[in-house]
Subunit: 326 residues, 2 copies
DNA sequence: TATTATGGTGAAAGCGATTTCAATGACAGG
DNA sequence: CCTGTCATTGAAATCGCTTTCACCATAATA
């Protein structure tokens, strides 16, 4: 492995000069040229490990996600990756498989060394999370949840759910049921349910608390909850879900119980999943710019790291949403 | 930042002793105890950067994927992540967005430093790729393509497609069309089409070359190709696709042209997408153990890195498949 | 008693960069 | 001719860890 010293010797300069050449310090034109040639000749590349040790920066960003194989998360991740690549950073991906403790574990692992910053695609934010985030020694940006005092990029789930509920209330005759997710997930659990309920109520068609079920983000859980709802309350005519994935499960359940194709106009979701859109012609749902949130969060993080001027750096950013098919 | 020397001083030993304690070298029980306490007291964590510089190993594995927001890839990635986490490695994720040149770029970037090994979720393998793989100075495992002389975990796309074609030939009356992907993707492009054609032919119902179209892995491309097919050849009664995603697009096209729900029994795909399964009740498709391929490939890679005995290390591994809904 | 082993130990030499620092030479102004 | 600037330069000091090496006890063997 050719190192800087070798290049320096070949070029007849000191390694300090080579370093300066590489990092844009004082260097005369002719030496620069000699160094350039020596580098080409030897095929030298600098050791990022030595560089990291010396400078303390690794150009690595830790990205913590609750689940990699989900459309929303992978779109966010795509956005993060885009920005990172463009700005010369790399992504250290950690998948917690929806386990809050592994989230903390990674938060620990990451700040305990290799990364310059962290993007946390958040689900549940416990007090422990808050503490971990506060005491994090590298900058961190949250995506998906709004946490006081932390930098975050999020959507207004309450408002979106309100609008959806309000719009739906008028169009649906008969009983509406709701399949949510754990309220520990403030955004997708609490806010969406509360918003949806408020929207229905405002339109004069309040949600019956007995028709609320809890899923776990998966298609199967949506299916299961819907089956149960349909058997307990056969007069339910519409099932609103906290995610498109669960809506897909509910759709299958309705189709099974009431016949194929029947369900399509009887569910709503969140997230505007591409498959769902194509295969059903579009259920009522909320479109979020997931890719954008990845992009924005990452830019925010990198701006503070790179000390970009004119940028206030870490802050909180609420992105818009769009009602679909209502 | 507390460093090893501090711990050593507090414990009244040399830093060499601390290092040995951490790495399982000779150390007496009482010193071990003192060091343990000193570490707890100071909250010391070792600098992975210094360690990396000294040992030359980063415990980082580079993972190159063509697209992060795709169900198959994200399942593979989930498998990779699982193994990596369990075995004390971290994942450096690089997304090439289906650009072959960026694949090479990352291959370069990765071996030019920080990673101990590479997992390449491969699509196209050009000569340049082969060269890059050969000259890679860290071990590398491919997923999804079979390349002579390289370690790879893959599926037998030809055989699977053959079986699918053979099984479908009997059940479909009328013309069958095919929407494939670029043949530069040997597995998903060439093998699937060839296998499918051979399967149909063997069953006495050969594919009309005029009814073959090319998509680009996306839902929209499947939609577009199917619309075009249906307008050019209205008598087509079945559209086989090289991926479930494109099949979803084809489904939408058929539904639009022939009425909702009509398309469901008129397409086939590859990959056994969960949404498609739930929303259509299941089109004919091939189930691959994507998560498993991630797991196997990563274990293979890590076994050679960690020098696990009894393991032959890098080799080639063909995983099975399963026909669904035929 | 004279040797080997053998478990433990710390000093010190790197790993391959970056960065400080003092020194140099050239050159403009006085 | 002297002095102050200023662009350049290389030696050397880190960064924080791992690992060799020489060395010391002490226990086991001859």
């Amino acid at each position: 492995m050719v190192k800087m010293k070798d290049v320096a010797e070949l070029a007849g300069v000191s390694s300090a000069a080579v370093s300066r050449y590489l990092n844009g310090g004082y260097i005369s034109a002719d030496k620069a040229e000699r160094i350039k040639q020596a580098i080409e000749l030897t095929g030298y590349v600098r050791s990022s490990q030595a560089r990291a040790l010396r400078t303390g920066s690794t150009k690595l960003i830790g990205v913590i996600v609750p689940k990699i194989n989900s459309e929303s998360v992978s779109r966010i991740t795509a956005g993060i990756g885009q920005v990172l690549a463009r700005r010369g950073y790399q992504m250290l991906l950690a998948n917690t498989d929806n386990a809050a403790d592994r989230e903390l574990e990674y938060l620990d692992l990451f700040q305990n060394h290799p990364v310059d910053g962290i993007v946390l695609v958040a689900t549940m934010i416990t007090d422990e999370h808050r503490r971990a985030i506060d005491s994090c020694r590298v900058p961190i940006v949250l995506i998906g949840q709004h946490v006081e005092g932390a930098a975050c990029v999020y959507h207004d789930d309450y408002e979106a759910a309100f609008e959806l509920g309000h719009a739906l209330a008028g169009r649906v005759d008969g009983k509406i049921a709701y399949i949510g997710v754990t309220e520990e997930d403030r955004a997708a659990g609490y806010d969406r349910r509360r918003g949806f309920e408020a929207g229905l109520r405002a339109a004069g068609n309040p949600l019956d608390a007995a028709l609320i079920r809890l899923g776990s983000f998966t298609l199967d859980s949506g299916y299961g909850a819907a089956r149960e709802l349909l058997s307990v309350a056969p007069d339910v005519s519409f099932i609103a879900c906290a995610t498109d994935t669960m809506a897909a499960g509910a759709l299958r359940a309705i189709d099974e119980v009431r016949g194929m194709g029947e369900g399509i106009h009887r569910v709503s979701g969140f997230g505007d999943n591409a498959f769902l859109r194509a295969l059903t012609g579009g259920i009522p749902t909320v479109h979020y710019g997931y890719l954008t949130s990845g992009v924005e969060a990452t830019n925010m993080l990198l701006n503070t790291l790179d000390g970009v001027e004119g940028e206030s750096g870490l802050k909180t950013l609420k992105l818009g949403h769009q009602l679909m098919n209502v």
